[in-house]
Symmetry: C2
Subunit: 244 residues, 2 copies
Amino acid sequence: MLSNIRIVLVQTYHPGNIGASARAMKTMGLSDLVLVNPRQFPDPEASRLAAGAEDLVANARVVASHEEAVSDCVQVVGASARLRSLPLPHFDEPDEMARELVEQARHDPVALVFGRERFGLTNDEIRCCSHQVSIPANPDYGILNLSQAVQVLAHELFTAWRRRPESGYRSALPTQERQPTREQLGHFQAHLSRVMQRSGFINQPHARTEAQLESLFARAQPSRRELSLLRGLLASLESHLPDS
Amino acid sequence: MLSNIRIVLVQTYHPGNIGASARAMKTMGLSDLVLVNPRQFPDPEASRLAAGAEDLVANARVVASHEEAVSDCVQVVGASARLRSLPLPHFDEPDEMARELVEQARHDPVALVFGRERFGLTNDEIRCCSHQVSIPANPDYGILNLSQAVQVLAHELFTAWRRRPESGYRSALPTQERQPTREQLGHFQAHLSRVMQRSGFINQPHARTEAQLESLFARAQPSRRELSLLRGLLASLESHLPDS
């Protein structure tokens, strides 16, 4: 699915932006990079900024026209800093765009097209797209660096793909600690209550104070190990308290 | 709300990353930048890559320790390439993190902390955070450039803020064209049907074919102007057809 998503960079001025875009792509599982008439490529700057994504730069296809870059695609989204007043369907939100592009990419190649650093895409190039999208930004300063725009939209594409049940993406979460049983929580609360009373913090069973502290600890969702540490701390404190 | 969100960069090695991060911040409405012990700052590279965000670089606060950077914050999220096995609450998803951080930022300062390019944050620095977050990425190559990571999370923060009703954010959408009335659509469908028959494309009223083409045009949601263009085209074609 992700392999069907092509990133097209049109007439990129700075080779460093090509490298940084390749890196952004690779971190988000994309690999199909096509360059339309880049000003200066190949170039050491492209390789340098690609970091571990040099393979994408090495395999990038270079073509002479926008049409050539996207002719086999079923959907072509033009990324533009500002939405043109062309009646081209536009996505209000990058995440909506990503969900639809990933859906289309299940069976056929699709493309996300970025323009020149200064001038973006020409109106003719936008017309060669099926949709346009822009990244909502600060109205006073909304122009992202080219490779940053690639990173943001690639992130949205990866997110859309991950969230599909068939992606099988497993996030690298730390192993979940075991949770205590209700009984173990009950023992802890009873222990805490006893220490509060024996310490003189509460003179008589004070349901409200106890309930507030109990709910704090419950909200913290202590693991079994943590509960056990708390019990140990309570026991050490308790050993210094006068017998009730 | 956004002004309450601080971006903290710890011991950044490349001054260019400071500039690019400042630019990323500004495009997403953030302005509070704090640098903990940057290796080389101030530096021309930082200003160069900041582009139009030089003001953020000029106003960046430089401090000697992580604690100093975040002591007044009510929530501190450490951005880490990999989630540590420390039992620190973690956000599975950047957008969840962003919604919660923006919520907390309504009343108090909060911080999003990024570590060194190579080594990220130390375990001690992670412990000074209230939460950790990582950007889900390609398991084979998941390390984003520092300023790219800032751009992605800043984008998520801006998105979370925009989507709150009180933000008042208005996206710069092109003006919506006027939609035709049901009656105008009906006239168009009758005209299309007439042309289909007179041209010999359908020999007799063929409900299915007509219905399929009608639904295609309906789905296209032509504006009034477009409908009018289509009517004009049908009229031109019709003028060449034999009288039925």
